[in-house]
Point group: C2
Chain length 186, copies 2
């Protein structure tokens, strides 16, 4: 008995909070401005999530969930040459629409280097793409459980993303990826 709980409200808040964090970043996140932007109050944020730390954890989980969904929609296009697949992945991840995700990705990584205790599963977040990526580049792998090829491919992608986000030089980074694709093809 009593007033029935409304879990949808928490979900709605979580979705909007994730939008907000993707737009504004994690570093300066503060409950009061966040609440104001979400038409709610710090009081309600703590009521729904317990603490700021738990709210952030929920937001990061939601962001990762969204990214995984988007990736799953995109990646199965494992047809074509190695070059085409690589270019497809790069075009997708480096597109402007993905910029907020990429930004948050780098932000979480950097914060995790200073406070590893807050991100117990950061290692997984890096390596869990290997399953899908390994499948995508099976023909250039050295074996069925080759982890080196996905590692290298992801390193190139992340490194070029790093470069692109810092310099904005799309032409140079695009060409560097093409060059890597050529090398990979042999």
């Amino acid at each position: 008995m009593g007033r029935p709980a409304d879990p949808a409200r928490r979900e709605r808040t979580l979705a909007r909070a994730t939008d907000y964090v993707l737009a504004h970043g994690l570093a300066g996140l503060s409950l009061r401005p966040l609440a104001a932007a979400l038409d709610t109050s710090p009081r309600m944020l703590l009521y729904d999530f317990g603490s700021k730390q738990e709210l952030v954890a929920a937001v990061l989980a939601e962001a990762r969930r969204r990214g995984a969904v988007r990736l799953a929609e995109r990646l199965p296009v494992a047809t074509g040459s190695v070059q085409e697949r690589l270019r497809g992945i790069w075009a997708w991840i480096s597109a402007d629409e993905r910029a907020p995700f990429v930004r948050l990705f780098f932000e979480v990584h950097a914060d995790g280097l200073v406070h590893p205790e807050n991100y117990p599963d950061q290692g997984e977040a890096i390596t869990d793409w290997f399953g899908t990526l390994g499948a995508t580049f099976r023909d250039v792998s050295t074996g069925p459980d080759d982890t080196v090829t996905p590692t290298l491919v992801m390193a190139v992608v992340r490194g070029l993303l790093f470069d692109l986000t810092a310099t904005g030089d799309r032409h140079r980074t695009d060409r560097a990826l093409d060059r890597f694709a050529e090398l990979l093809k042999q």
Copy 2:
């Protein structure tokens, strides 16, 4: 006339502040703990640097200066095969002693993505290694002002650094670099 200024004090403070930032990171930097660790006071930090923002700028400049010196000491070893040179660079940059620099590097990049206005020269910080790196890998470059090869090499190094710092998996990242060296050799 009057008491003579003592610029050495500011230099000493800057050096120790840089040590502190390299050890503790930029994100949570606060004047009072910093001053306490440096046996000085927030009052003096502001007296010497004007504001926290200028202090941070000075610290970052100092850190970059140190990194450049260390790199200049190391890089001229441009002898040997492409593989050996690449391995040498990777061994140097991924060594544990460089970890604080690498951490700060990622931290500044991430913060720069959220607040680009604070880092007007971030693009340069990424590309200014190309001069030296381009010279080092001249024999695998496509031309005298080939920017693509240095871009790719740095992307691999940064991407693998990203992986290594997040997962701590040295074996896998080392092998990925070896694989890249093989590809580069053709």
